[in-house]
Protein backbone atom coordinates (compact mmCIF):
# COMPACT_ATOMS: atom_id res chain seq x y z
CA UNK A 1 0.00 0.00 0.00
CA UNK A 2 1.64 3.24 -1.16
CA UNK A 3 0.41 6.80 -1.25
CA UNK A 4 1.75 10.16 -2.32
CA UNK A 5 2.60 12.13 0.78
CA UNK A 6 1.77 15.85 0.89
CA UNK A 7 3.87 18.59 2.48
CA UNK A 8 2.20 21.76 3.82
CA UNK A 9 3.80 23.62 0.92
CA UNK A 10 1.83 21.39 -1.48
CA UNK A 11 -1.37 22.96 -0.14
CA UNK A 12 -0.46 26.54 -1.05
CA UNK A 13 -1.47 26.30 -4.70
CA UNK A 14 -4.86 24.59 -4.02
CA UNK A 15 -5.53 27.20 -1.32
CA UNK A 16 -5.37 29.82 -4.10
CA UNK A 17 -8.67 28.39 -5.34
CA UNK A 18 -10.32 29.62 -2.14
CA UNK A 19 -8.66 33.02 -2.67
CA UNK A 20 -10.18 32.96 -6.15
CA UNK A 21 -13.64 32.42 -4.56
CA UNK A 22 -13.00 35.43 -2.31
CA UNK A 23 -11.99 37.55 -5.30
CA UNK A 24 -15.18 36.52 -7.11
CA UNK A 25 -17.21 37.53 -4.07
CA UNK A 26 -15.53 40.94 -4.04
CA UNK A 27 -15.99 41.54 -7.76
CA UNK A 28 -19.63 40.41 -7.76
CA UNK A 29 -20.43 42.16 -4.43
CA UNK A 30 -21.64 38.89 -2.88
CA UNK A 31 -20.38 40.00 0.55
CA UNK A 32 -19.23 36.44 1.24
CA UNK A 33 -15.52 37.16 1.59
CA UNK A 34 -15.61 37.60 5.37
CA UNK A 35 -17.60 34.40 5.90
CA UNK A 36 -15.35 32.58 3.44
CA UNK A 37 -12.20 33.76 5.24
CA UNK A 38 -13.54 32.75 8.66
CA UNK A 39 -14.73 29.35 7.37
CA UNK A 40 -11.37 28.69 5.71
CA UNK A 41 -9.36 29.60 8.80
CA UNK A 42 -11.69 27.53 11.00
CA UNK A 43 -11.38 24.55 8.67
CA UNK A 44 -7.58 24.71 8.60
CA UNK A 45 -7.22 25.18 12.36
CA UNK A 46 -9.80 22.49 13.22
CA UNK A 47 -8.37 19.90 10.82
CA UNK A 48 -4.74 20.47 11.81
CA UNK A 49 -5.75 20.32 15.47
CA UNK A 50 -7.69 17.09 14.89
CA UNK A 51 -4.68 15.69 13.05
CA UNK A 52 -2.45 16.27 16.08
CA UNK A 53 -5.10 15.02 18.52
CA UNK A 54 -5.58 11.83 16.50
CA UNK A 55 -1.82 11.34 16.29
CA UNK A 56 -1.66 11.56 20.09
CA UNK A 57 -4.67 9.25 20.54
CA UNK A 58 -3.33 6.64 18.10
CA UNK A 59 -0.02 6.63 19.93
CA UNK A 60 -1.63 6.42 23.38
CA UNK A 61 -4.24 3.72 22.57
CA UNK A 62 -5.85 4.48 25.93
CA UNK A 63 -9.48 3.63 26.75
CA UNK A 64 -9.74 6.85 28.80
CA UNK A 65 -8.52 9.19 26.05
CA UNK A 66 -10.56 7.38 23.41
CA UNK A 67 -13.71 7.62 25.53
CA UNK A 68 -13.04 11.30 26.26
CA UNK A 69 -12.62 12.06 22.56
CA UNK A 70 -15.84 10.16 21.76
CA UNK A 71 -17.66 12.05 24.52
CA UNK A 72 -16.51 15.42 23.16
CA UNK A 73 -17.65 14.39 19.67
CA UNK A 74 -21.11 13.53 21.00
CA UNK A 75 -21.32 16.86 22.87
CA UNK A 76 -20.52 18.77 19.68
CA UNK A 77 -23.04 16.68 17.74
CA UNK A 78 -25.80 17.38 20.27
CA UNK A 79 -24.99 21.08 20.22
CA UNK A 80 -25.26 20.99 16.43
CA UNK A 81 -28.64 19.22 16.69
CA UNK A 82 -29.86 21.91 19.09
CA UNK A 83 -28.64 24.78 16.91
CA UNK A 84 -30.43 23.37 13.84
CA UNK A 85 -33.84 23.37 15.57
CA UNK A 86 -36.27 26.15 14.72
CA UNK A 87 -38.18 25.28 17.90
CA UNK A 88 -36.35 23.80 20.88
CA UNK A 89 -37.51 21.82 23.85
CA UNK A 90 -37.33 23.65 27.17
CA UNK A 91 -34.80 23.03 29.91
CA UNK A 92 -32.33 20.18 30.02
CA UNK A 93 -34.09 18.37 27.18
CA UNK A 94 -32.83 21.06 24.78
CA UNK A 95 -29.50 19.22 24.80
CA UNK A 96 -30.50 16.02 26.55
CA UNK A 97 -32.72 14.46 23.91
CA UNK A 98 -30.28 15.04 21.05
CA UNK A 99 -27.27 13.97 23.11
CA UNK A 100 -28.99 10.88 24.52
CA UNK A 101 -30.26 9.65 21.17
CA UNK A 102 -26.97 10.40 19.41
CA UNK A 103 -25.04 8.54 22.07
CA UNK A 104 -27.46 5.62 22.02
CA UNK A 105 -27.54 5.23 18.24
CA UNK A 106 -23.97 6.09 17.21
CA UNK A 107 -22.50 4.37 20.28
CA UNK A 108 -24.46 1.16 19.78
CA UNK A 109 -23.72 0.92 16.07
CA UNK A 110 -20.02 1.74 16.51
CA UNK A 111 -19.66 -0.87 19.24
CA UNK A 112 -21.52 -3.36 17.08
CA UNK A 113 -19.13 -2.87 14.18
CA UNK A 114 -16.02 -2.95 16.38
CA UNK A 115 -17.03 -6.09 18.22
CA UNK A 116 -18.59 -8.10 15.41
CA UNK A 117 -16.95 -6.96 12.15
CA UNK A 118 -13.58 -5.26 12.52
CA UNK A 119 -12.22 -6.90 15.69
CA UNK A 120 -9.34 -4.41 16.22
CA UNK A 121 -6.85 -5.17 18.95
CA UNK A 122 -7.68 -3.76 21.49
CA UNK A 123 -11.36 -3.41 20.56
CA UNK A 124 -11.41 0.32 21.46
CA UNK A 125 -8.39 1.12 19.26
CA UNK A 126 -8.90 4.82 18.39
CA UNK A 127 -7.65 4.31 14.81
CA UNK A 128 -10.87 2.37 14.16
CA UNK A 129 -13.25 3.55 16.88
CA UNK A 130 -13.01 7.30 16.34
CA UNK A 131 -13.24 7.53 12.52
CA UNK A 132 -16.15 5.06 12.60
CA UNK A 133 -17.90 7.00 15.34
CA UNK A 134 -17.30 10.26 13.51
CA UNK A 135 -18.85 9.08 10.27
CA UNK A 136 -21.85 7.48 11.98
CA UNK A 137 -22.27 10.49 14.28
CA UNK A 138 -22.36 12.98 11.41
CA UNK A 139 -25.16 11.15 9.63
CA UNK A 140 -27.08 10.25 12.78
CA UNK A 141 -26.95 13.89 13.82
CA UNK A 142 -28.51 14.98 10.52
CA UNK A 143 -31.30 12.41 10.84
CA UNK A 144 -32.06 13.35 14.45
CA UNK A 145 -32.04 17.09 13.84
CA UNK A 146 -34.29 16.79 10.78
CA UNK A 147 -36.66 14.43 12.58
CA UNK A 148 -36.95 16.68 15.64
CA UNK A 149 -37.38 19.79 13.52
CA UNK A 150 -40.25 18.25 11.56
CA UNK A 151 -41.78 16.89 14.77
CA UNK A 152 -41.88 20.20 16.66
CA UNK A 153 -42.94 22.27 13.64
CA UNK A 154 -45.52 19.64 12.68
CA UNK A 155 -47.06 19.58 16.16
CA UNK A 156 -47.33 23.37 16.26
CA UNK A 157 -48.84 23.46 12.76
CA UNK A 158 -51.16 20.48 13.29
CA UNK A 159 -52.18 21.34 16.83
CA UNK A 160 -55.91 21.50 15.99
CA UNK A 161 -55.80 18.07 14.32
CA UNK A 162 -53.85 16.46 17.18
CA UNK A 163 -56.15 17.95 19.82
CA UNK A 164 -59.27 16.95 17.85
CA UNK A 165 -58.12 13.34 17.95
CA UNK A 166 -57.32 13.61 21.69
CA UNK A 167 -60.68 15.26 22.42
CA UNK A 168 -62.46 12.33 20.77
CA UNK A 169 -60.70 9.85 23.04
CA UNK A 170 -57.60 9.10 20.99
CA UNK A 171 -54.41 8.17 22.80
CA UNK A 172 -51.37 10.41 22.47
CA UNK A 173 -49.79 7.84 20.14
CA UNK A 174 -52.88 7.78 17.87
CA UNK A 175 -53.09 11.58 17.85
CA UNK A 176 -49.41 12.13 17.07
CA UNK A 177 -49.05 9.31 14.55
CA UNK A 178 -49.36 11.39 11.31
CA UNK A 179 -46.78 13.90 12.58
CA UNK A 180 -44.50 11.14 13.90
CA UNK A 181 -44.55 9.46 10.49
CA UNK A 182 -43.65 12.71 8.72
CA UNK A 183 -40.80 13.31 11.16
CA UNK A 184 -39.41 9.77 10.75
CA UNK A 185 -39.61 10.02 6.95
CA UNK A 186 -37.70 13.31 7.00
CA UNK A 187 -35.03 11.86 9.27
CA UNK A 188 -34.51 8.76 7.09
CA UNK A 189 -34.67 10.53 3.74
CA UNK A 190 -31.09 11.91 3.49
CA UNK A 191 -29.63 8.46 4.23
CA UNK A 192 -31.90 6.74 1.71
CA UNK A 193 -31.11 9.38 -0.93
CA UNK A 194 -27.41 9.07 -0.13
CA UNK A 195 -27.50 5.29 -0.50
CA UNK A 196 -29.37 5.52 -3.80
CA UNK A 197 -26.99 8.06 -5.33
CA UNK A 198 -23.71 6.69 -4.02
CA UNK A 199 -21.28 5.53 -6.70
CA UNK A 200 -23.33 7.09 -9.50
CA UNK A 201 -23.55 10.74 -8.58
CA UNK A 202 -20.64 10.87 -6.14
CA UNK A 203 -17.78 8.79 -4.87
CA UNK A 204 -17.91 8.78 -1.09
CA UNK A 205 -15.13 10.60 0.74
CA UNK A 206 -13.95 7.68 2.79
CA UNK A 207 -13.69 5.36 -0.20
CA UNK A 208 -11.89 8.02 -2.23
CA UNK A 209 -9.52 8.57 0.68
CA UNK A 210 -8.71 4.89 0.91
CA UNK A 211 -8.15 4.63 -2.86
CA UNK A 212 -5.82 7.66 -2.75
CA UNK A 213 -3.99 5.98 0.14
CA UNK A 214 -3.32 2.96 -2.09
CA UNK A 215 -6.09 0.55 -1.06
CA UNK A 216 -7.51 -1.64 -3.83
CA UNK A 217 -10.85 -0.18 -5.02
CA UNK A 218 -12.77 -3.40 -4.22
CA UNK A 219 -11.41 -3.39 -0.67
CA UNK A 220 -12.32 0.29 -0.35
CA UNK A 221 -15.82 -0.53 -1.61
CA UNK A 222 -16.22 -3.20 1.07
CA UNK A 223 -15.28 -0.69 3.76
CA UNK A 224 -17.65 1.86 2.27
CA UNK A 225 -20.50 -0.67 2.19
CA UNK A 226 -19.85 -1.51 5.84
CA UNK A 227 -19.94 2.19 6.71
CA UNK A 228 -23.14 2.78 4.74
CA UNK A 229 -24.89 -0.11 6.50
CA UNK A 230 -23.74 1.24 9.84
CA UNK A 231 -24.87 4.76 8.94
CA UNK A 232 -28.29 3.46 7.88
CA UNK A 233 -28.63 1.57 11.14
CA UNK A 234 -27.40 4.45 13.29
CA UNK A 235 -29.61 7.00 11.57
CA UNK A 236 -32.65 4.75 11.82
CA UNK A 237 -32.09 4.01 15.49
CA UNK A 238 -31.23 7.61 16.42
CA UNK A 239 -34.09 9.19 14.47
CA UNK A 240 -36.60 6.70 15.87
CA UNK A 241 -35.44 7.29 19.44
CA UNK A 242 -35.40 11.09 19.05
CA UNK A 243 -38.78 11.36 17.34
CA UNK A 244 -40.55 8.94 19.68
CA UNK A 245 -38.83 10.52 22.70
CA UNK A 246 -39.72 14.01 21.45
CA UNK A 247 -43.34 12.93 20.95
CA UNK A 248 -43.45 11.58 24.48
CA UNK A 249 -41.91 14.76 25.94
CA UNK A 250 -44.41 16.95 24.09
CA UNK A 251 -47.35 15.08 25.59
CA UNK A 252 -48.01 14.05 29.19
CA UNK A 253 -49.37 11.11 31.15
CA UNK A 254 -52.93 12.45 30.74
CA UNK A 255 -52.49 12.30 26.95
CA UNK A 256 -52.40 16.10 26.59
CA UNK A 257 -50.45 17.95 23.93
CA UNK A 258 -47.83 20.04 25.79
CA UNK A 259 -46.60 22.67 23.36
CA UNK A 260 -45.71 24.77 26.42
CA UNK A 261 -42.64 22.51 26.63
CA UNK A 262 -41.30 24.10 23.45
CA UNK A 263 -39.25 27.22 24.11
CA UNK A 264 -40.92 30.28 22.64
CA UNK A 265 -37.73 32.13 21.79
CA UNK A 266 -36.36 31.25 18.36
CA UNK A 267 -32.66 30.34 18.16
CA UNK A 268 -30.40 33.28 17.52
Amino acid sequence: MTYIQLAYSDLILPACLVVMDGALSLVLHLKLERQLAIATVRMVVQLVLVGYVLTFLFAAVSPFWTALAAFIMVIFASREIMVRQKRRLRGLWTYGLGAGCTLLAAGTVTMFSLLTQLHPEPWYHPRYALPLLGMILGNTMTGISLGLDVLTNGLVRERAAVEACLALGGTRYQALLPVLRDALRSGFMPTINGMAAIGLVSLPGMMTGQILAGVEPIDAVKYQLLIMFLIAGGTGLGTLAAVMGGGRLLTDHRHRLRLDRIASDPPG
Binding site: A160, A164, L166, R254, H255, L257, R258
Partner: protein
Protein backbone atom coordinates in the same frame (compact mmCIF):
# COMPACT_ATOMS: atom_id res chain seq x y z
CA UNK B 1 -73.59 13.63 37.09
CA UNK B 2 -70.61 15.95 36.40
CA UNK B 3 -69.16 17.69 39.43
CA UNK B 4 -66.66 20.47 38.84
CA UNK B 5 -65.02 21.22 42.17
CA UNK B 6 -62.60 24.14 42.52
CA UNK B 7 -61.36 23.80 38.96
CA UNK B 8 -58.38 26.09 38.48
CA UNK B 9 -56.85 26.90 35.12
CA UNK B 10 -54.87 30.15 34.68
CA UNK B 11 -57.25 32.93 35.85
CA UNK B 12 -60.31 30.66 36.04
CA UNK B 13 -61.50 29.18 39.31
CA UNK B 14 -64.99 27.65 39.31
CA UNK B 15 -67.21 25.06 40.99
CA UNK B 16 -70.56 23.80 39.77
CA UNK B 17 -72.58 20.69 39.02
CA UNK B 18 -74.16 19.52 35.79
CA UNK B 19 -77.02 17.06 36.07
CA UNK B 20 -78.26 14.38 33.70
CA UNK B 21 -80.30 15.83 30.87
CA UNK B 22 -79.31 19.39 31.69
CA UNK B 23 -77.83 22.07 29.45
CA UNK B 24 -75.82 24.93 30.88
CA UNK B 25 -75.52 27.85 28.49
CA UNK B 26 -72.18 29.60 28.95
CA UNK B 27 -71.75 33.20 27.92
CA UNK B 28 -69.08 35.81 28.33
CA UNK B 29 -66.89 38.22 26.38
CA UNK B 30 -64.21 36.91 24.03
CA UNK B 31 -61.08 36.10 26.00
CA UNK B 32 -62.95 35.55 29.26
CA UNK B 33 -61.89 31.91 29.25
CA UNK B 34 -64.97 29.96 28.09
CA UNK B 35 -62.91 27.70 25.82
CA UNK B 36 -60.23 27.32 28.52
CA UNK B 37 -62.90 26.16 30.97
CA UNK B 38 -64.38 23.60 28.56
CA UNK B 39 -60.92 22.32 27.58
CA UNK B 40 -59.93 22.04 31.24
CA UNK B 41 -63.03 19.96 32.06
CA UNK B 42 -62.12 17.66 29.15
CA UNK B 43 -58.58 17.51 30.61
CA UNK B 44 -57.00 18.80 27.41
CA UNK B 45 -54.85 21.31 29.31
CA UNK B 46 -53.10 20.98 32.68
CA UNK B 47 -55.48 22.11 35.44
CA UNK B 48 -56.32 21.47 39.05
CA UNK B 49 -59.51 20.59 40.82
CA UNK B 50 -61.77 17.71 41.73
CA UNK B 51 -63.70 16.85 38.57
CA UNK B 52 -65.97 13.85 38.93
CA UNK B 53 -68.33 11.95 36.68
CA UNK B 54 -70.94 9.99 38.63
CA UNK B 55 -68.72 10.36 41.70
CA UNK B 56 -65.60 8.96 40.02
CA UNK B 57 -62.60 11.28 40.01
CA UNK B 58 -61.29 12.16 36.57
CA UNK B 59 -57.77 11.06 37.54
CA UNK B 60 -59.07 7.57 38.32
CA UNK B 61 -60.08 7.15 34.68
CA UNK B 62 -57.60 6.90 31.78
CA UNK B 63 -57.62 10.24 29.93
CA UNK B 64 -58.80 8.84 26.55
CA UNK B 65 -61.71 7.10 28.27
CA UNK B 66 -62.58 10.29 30.17
CA UNK B 67 -62.72 12.26 26.91
CA UNK B 68 -64.97 9.65 25.32
CA UNK B 69 -67.36 10.30 28.21
CA UNK B 70 -66.79 14.05 28.54
CA UNK B 71 -66.23 15.24 24.99
CA UNK B 72 -65.04 18.67 23.96
CA UNK B 73 -66.10 19.95 20.53
CA UNK B 74 -63.96 22.86 19.35
CA UNK B 75 -65.41 25.83 17.49
CA UNK B 76 -62.97 25.13 14.66
CA UNK B 77 -62.58 21.36 14.52
CA UNK B 78 -59.24 19.87 13.47
CA UNK B 79 -58.70 17.16 10.87
CA UNK B 80 -55.92 14.60 10.83
CA UNK B 81 -56.69 12.67 7.63
CA UNK B 82 -57.50 13.58 4.03
CA UNK B 83 -61.12 12.48 3.67
CA UNK B 84 -64.24 12.92 5.79
CA UNK B 85 -64.91 9.24 6.50
CA UNK B 86 -61.43 8.64 7.88
CA UNK B 87 -62.43 10.78 10.87
CA UNK B 88 -65.27 8.47 11.90
CA UNK B 89 -64.87 5.11 13.65
CA UNK B 90 -67.86 3.74 11.68
CA UNK B 91 -68.75 5.91 8.73
CA UNK B 92 -71.83 3.91 7.64
CA UNK B 93 -73.38 4.32 11.07
CA UNK B 94 -72.77 8.06 10.91
CA UNK B 95 -74.47 8.62 7.53
CA UNK B 96 -78.03 9.15 8.89
CA UNK B 97 -76.79 11.75 11.38
CA UNK B 98 -74.63 13.46 8.76
CA UNK B 99 -77.60 13.58 6.37
CA UNK B 100 -79.80 14.99 9.11
CA UNK B 101 -77.28 17.75 9.60
CA UNK B 102 -77.91 18.76 6.00
CA UNK B 103 -74.82 17.19 4.45
CA UNK B 104 -74.71 14.82 1.49
CA UNK B 105 -74.63 11.12 2.46
CA UNK B 106 -71.85 10.80 -0.15
CA UNK B 107 -69.58 13.27 1.62
CA UNK B 108 -67.55 10.45 3.22
CA UNK B 109 -65.12 10.43 0.32
CA UNK B 110 -64.86 14.20 0.09
CA UNK B 111 -61.51 15.80 0.71
CA UNK B 112 -61.38 17.86 3.91
CA UNK B 113 -59.78 20.68 1.92
CA UNK B 114 -62.92 21.21 -0.16
CA UNK B 115 -65.27 21.56 2.83
CA UNK B 116 -66.70 24.96 3.76
CA UNK B 117 -66.32 26.27 7.32
CA UNK B 118 -69.96 25.42 8.04
CA UNK B 119 -69.61 21.88 6.68
CA UNK B 120 -66.53 21.36 8.81
CA UNK B 121 -68.36 22.58 11.90
CA UNK B 122 -71.32 20.22 11.32
CA UNK B 123 -69.03 17.24 10.60
CA UNK B 124 -66.97 18.06 13.68
CA UNK B 125 -70.15 17.94 15.75
CA UNK B 126 -71.37 14.73 14.05
CA UNK B 127 -68.05 13.03 14.78
CA UNK B 128 -68.40 13.90 18.49
CA UNK B 129 -72.10 12.96 18.66
CA UNK B 130 -71.26 9.48 17.36
CA UNK B 131 -69.34 8.82 20.58
CA UNK B 132 -72.61 8.92 22.59
CA UNK B 133 -70.78 10.77 25.39
CA UNK B 134 -72.32 11.38 28.80
CA UNK B 135 -71.30 15.06 28.65
CA UNK B 136 -70.85 17.30 25.62
CA UNK B 137 -68.76 20.46 25.94
CA UNK B 138 -69.82 22.49 22.92
CA UNK B 139 -67.65 25.49 22.11
CA UNK B 140 -69.73 27.81 19.94
CA UNK B 141 -71.00 24.87 17.88
CA UNK B 142 -73.10 26.99 15.52
CA UNK B 143 -70.80 30.01 15.12
CA UNK B 144 -70.25 29.28 11.42
CA UNK B 145 -73.79 28.10 10.59
CA UNK B 146 -76.81 29.73 8.98
CA UNK B 147 -80.17 29.90 10.76
CA UNK B 148 -81.47 26.65 9.26
CA UNK B 149 -78.41 24.59 10.17
CA UNK B 150 -78.32 26.19 13.61
CA UNK B 151 -81.92 25.10 14.21
CA UNK B 152 -81.08 21.53 13.13
CA UNK B 153 -78.06 21.39 15.46
CA UNK B 154 -80.10 22.76 18.36
CA UNK B 155 -82.81 20.19 17.73
CA UNK B 156 -80.37 17.25 17.56
CA UNK B 157 -78.60 18.33 20.75
CA UNK B 158 -81.98 18.86 22.45
CA UNK B 159 -82.82 15.22 21.68
CA UNK B 160 -79.58 14.10 23.27
CA UNK B 161 -80.32 16.23 26.33
CA UNK B 162 -83.78 14.70 26.65
CA UNK B 163 -82.08 11.29 26.55
CA UNK B 164 -79.92 12.23 29.55
CA UNK B 165 -76.80 13.78 28.04
CA UNK B 166 -75.42 16.72 29.98
CA UNK B 167 -74.32 19.68 27.87
CA UNK B 168 -72.33 22.83 28.45
CA UNK B 169 -72.96 25.10 25.47
CA UNK B 170 -70.75 28.14 24.99
CA UNK B 171 -72.35 30.84 22.85
CA UNK B 172 -72.19 34.57 22.16
CA UNK B 173 -75.83 34.55 21.09
CA UNK B 174 -78.10 35.47 24.02
CA UNK B 175 -81.21 34.27 22.21
CA UNK B 176 -79.57 30.90 21.62
CA UNK B 177 -78.53 30.71 25.28
CA UNK B 178 -82.18 31.25 26.22
CA UNK B 179 -83.34 28.57 23.76
CA UNK B 180 -80.89 25.79 24.60
CA UNK B 181 -79.98 26.37 28.24
CA UNK B 182 -81.78 25.16 31.32
CA UNK B 183 -79.33 27.30 33.32
CA UNK B 184 -77.22 30.25 32.25
CA UNK B 185 -73.66 30.88 33.43
CA UNK B 186 -72.02 34.18 32.58
CA UNK B 187 -68.26 34.41 32.76
CA UNK B 188 -66.67 37.83 33.25
CA UNK B 189 -63.32 38.97 31.90
CA UNK B 190 -61.65 37.87 35.13
CA UNK B 191 -62.78 34.28 34.68
CA UNK B 192 -65.45 34.38 37.43
CA UNK B 193 -68.73 32.63 36.76
CA UNK B 194 -72.13 33.82 37.96
CA UNK B 195 -75.38 31.99 37.47
CA UNK B 196 -78.07 34.18 35.91
CA UNK B 197 -81.82 33.68 35.63
CA UNK B 198 -83.01 32.52 32.22
Amino acid sequence: MLTVGALTRLHISVSFELNDGECIALQGPSGAGKSLLLRAIADLDPNEGAIKLDGTLREAVPAPLWRKQVTYVAAEPGWWADTVQEHFAGWNDAIPLVARLGLSPDCGTWQIQRLSTGEKQRLGLARALMLQSRVLLLDEPTAALDATSTAIVESIVAERISNGTGVIWSTHDSAQAQRVGSRLFVMDAGGCIEEHQL
